[in-house]
């Protein structure tokens, strides 16, 4: 009896592979890629607990426990970067979370179809422009000697030129506004899709009840897309620690470093510029773990509130 079942099993396994082996062959190379380029660096995080010596391998030489964690916990530069990351993220969330929602609602209200299409097409485009180009354009717009902003300030109001890019007072505002410029249109797509899904009889009923446009938005559109808004909000909270590293790095100057040094730039500077590999890995791992806790937490919250999560 037992023997027979075993036979059946081996035959079906054999048959199974005879039928599907090509599918496994296909995924062999990509799987290898994942193990090498995604999972090996994950395991490489053990470097946070090991001492690195140049030329003696990427995994370090000996275990040192939590030495590096203790060191950065006592490092004011780390806490400054941590605070800068949180503040910048929160300002960004407060300002750039609602704007795409408002934008989507207004786009949806455009009566003229051709104009609507032009607005949509043009507003998505900045999303595909390189960060380098965006910051380079910004540098020219805001240049103290030749930038159009400073020229207009001087011509119209007689104000003195401000070196915006170098002044720590303006860094956060500029960062957030660049995000607004680059991502408003693109993020609005999701809300627009949700708005398109609202049944039109809801609007007809509201019109019969005498609701004007603003009232229809308040009492039909916004409540209808509330689930989408909630999911997006939770997603954004989960991503709180992951700012646009490249953008911050490009906007970073020694003069604005008090506010522009975030965790990622700190890791970059201590790690790659100063080659404190283990120390930088420890900081990176710490922020990565917080990130995972935030994602997992916000996801379970999302599942509880809306019955839907991202994984």
């Amino acid at each position: 009896m037992r023997k027979k079942r075993k036979d059946v099993n081996t035959i079906t396994t054999k048959k199974y592979f005879a039928r599907y082996w090509q599918l496994y062959l296909m995924l062999l190379l990509p799987l290898l890629y994942f193990l090498v380029f995604k999972y090996a660096p994950m395991i490489g995080n053990v470097l946070a607990f090991r001492r690195y010596r140049p030329g003696m391998g990427a995994w370090g030489t000996e275990w040192v426990g939590l030495t590096y964690f203790r060191r950065f916990f006592g490092d004011p530069a780390f806490w400054r970067a941590f605070r800068n990351t949180l503040i910048l993220s929160l300002i960004n969330l407060v300002i750039n979370f609602p704007i795409p929602i408002i934008f989507a609602i207004l786009v949806n209200e455009i009566r003229h179809l051709a104009f609507k299409r032009v607005v949509q097409t043009v507003s998505y485009m900045p999303r595909f422009i390189s960060t380098v180009v965006v910051i380079a354009i910004l540098g020219e717009l805001l240049s103290p000697s030749s930038g159009i902003i400073n020229i207009l300030r001087e011509r119209l109001f007689g104000l003195e030129a401000i070196y915006f890019m170098n002044d720590s007072k303006y860094f956060r505002m500029i960062y957030v506004l660049v995000d607004t410029w680059q991502y408003t249109g693109w993020t609005a797509i999701i809300y627009l899709a949700a708005i398109t899904g609202i049944p039109s009889d809801l609007y007809e009923a509201a019109t019969i009840d005498g609701a004007n446009k603003a009232q229809q938005i308040m009492f039909v559109t916004i409540p209808s897309i509330m689930p989408t808004i909630m999911v997006m909000l939770i997603l954004n909270v989960g991503r709180l620690l992951s700012l646009g590293f490249e953008k911050v790095l490009l906007m970073y100057t020694p003069d604005n470093s008090m506010v522009s040094d975030i965790i990622d730039t700190l890791v970059y500077r201590t790690g790659l510029a100063n080659q404190n590999y283990s120390y930088a890995t420890a900081i990176g791992l710490f922020s990565g773990l917080i990130g995972i806790v935030l994602v997992a937490g916000s996801n379970s919250l999302s599942k509880r509130l809306t019955g839907d999560g991202i994984y």
Partner: protein, 289 residues
């Protein structure tokens, strides 16, 4: 429909159109300003006369960058990274997405978990750098291509798309004697044009815009054009030899603008035609296992 004629709705429409017109202009003005600067004479720039229209029209800055070998070299590098990178990337993603789109396949669930987990927890900058370094890829062009062969978001987008293709088509093909490679090539891929265009475009834009990996992995002869631009902006590298020292900054401004425009041109020019593929991705790419 009388509702639309009320005064409050008229004002509302006016408001909507004004706000939208303003955002349209805000999106476009930076580019228009760059074009105007790149086509203006250094004298007009130094006198702050240039706004949204070129003043003292000249093609001098374009001629200068086209005669600057490093610019051409960097531009060529970017084209190479974009084409080869997108090619490798598409091949790898198709090969993974097709088996993963079959939920009945043994091990498929575990592999999906492997993919999704790697979206939320990554190796971080330093372990990635040390990996590329210990693979001997530093100062080779492969460092720009291999580490980014698969983007998980795009992979899932493709998996979701493959799942929408009805399975009876495959069963019919198997009866006709096709194997899975044949099915993928002759049935799945021809039906996936739109999804492949979307994923291919996202990937191409990624490679076109990438500069940071060039900064940490490559030597200057291998730099992509975006890194070249970044180095001009930070003053790490100089373009053109200004005759007089006083002219140097203003010449630099028009040249910088010319580099900005030329390096963004392919995206700006192709974007309106390919826009529908760009937008498609966000709709079918819901991150779901």
């Amino acid at each position: 429909m009388r509702q639309y004629k009320t005064r409050s709705n008229f004002l509302f429409n006016l408001f909507v159109n004004l706000v939208m017109l303003t955002s349209l202009l805000l999106c476009l003005i930076p580019f228009v300003y760059m074009i105007a600067l790149s086509l203006s004479s250094p004298k007009a720039i130094i006198n702050n006369e240039v706004f949204l229209w070129p003043k003292g029209f000249t093609l001098e800055s374009y001629l200068q960058i086209f005669n600057y070998p490093n610019f051409f070299h960097a531009y060529g590098n970017t084209i190479l990274y974009t084409f080869v990178g997108t090619g490798i990337s598409l091949a790898m993603m198709i090969l993974f997405a097709y088996p993963l789109s079959k939920t009945r396949l043994k091990g498929q669930k575990a592999l999906m978990k492997l993919v999704i987990f790697s979206m939320f927890f990554t190796g971080g900058l330093i372990p990635n750098y040390l990996l590329v370094s210990s693979l001997g890829l530093i100062n080779t062009r492969w460092a720009m291509l291999l580490p980014f062969a698969i983007n998980q978001f795009n992979l899932i987008l493709l998996i979701n798309f493959f799942r929408t293709i009805p399975e009876d088509m495959e069963e019919a093909a198997i009866i006709d004697g096709l194997d899975y490679f044949g099915i993928l090539l002759k049935i799945i891929l021809p039906l996936s044009g739109a999804a492949l265009a979307t994923v291919g475009l996202y990937t191409a834009v990624f490679f076109w815009n990438d500069w940071f990996n060039g900064l940490i992995y490559l030597k200057s002869s291998q730099f992509p054009v975006m890194l070249f631009l970044r180095n001009i902006v930070t003053g790490t590298s100089m373009v053109g030899d200004a005759a007089g020292a006083g002219d140097k900054t203003t010449i630099a401004i028009s040249i910088k603008s010319a580099v900005i425009i030329t390096s963004t041109l392919p995206i700006i020019v192709l974007y309106p035609f390919l826009q529908r593929y760009f937008v498609k991705g966000i709709m079918i790419g819901a991150v779901k296992g």
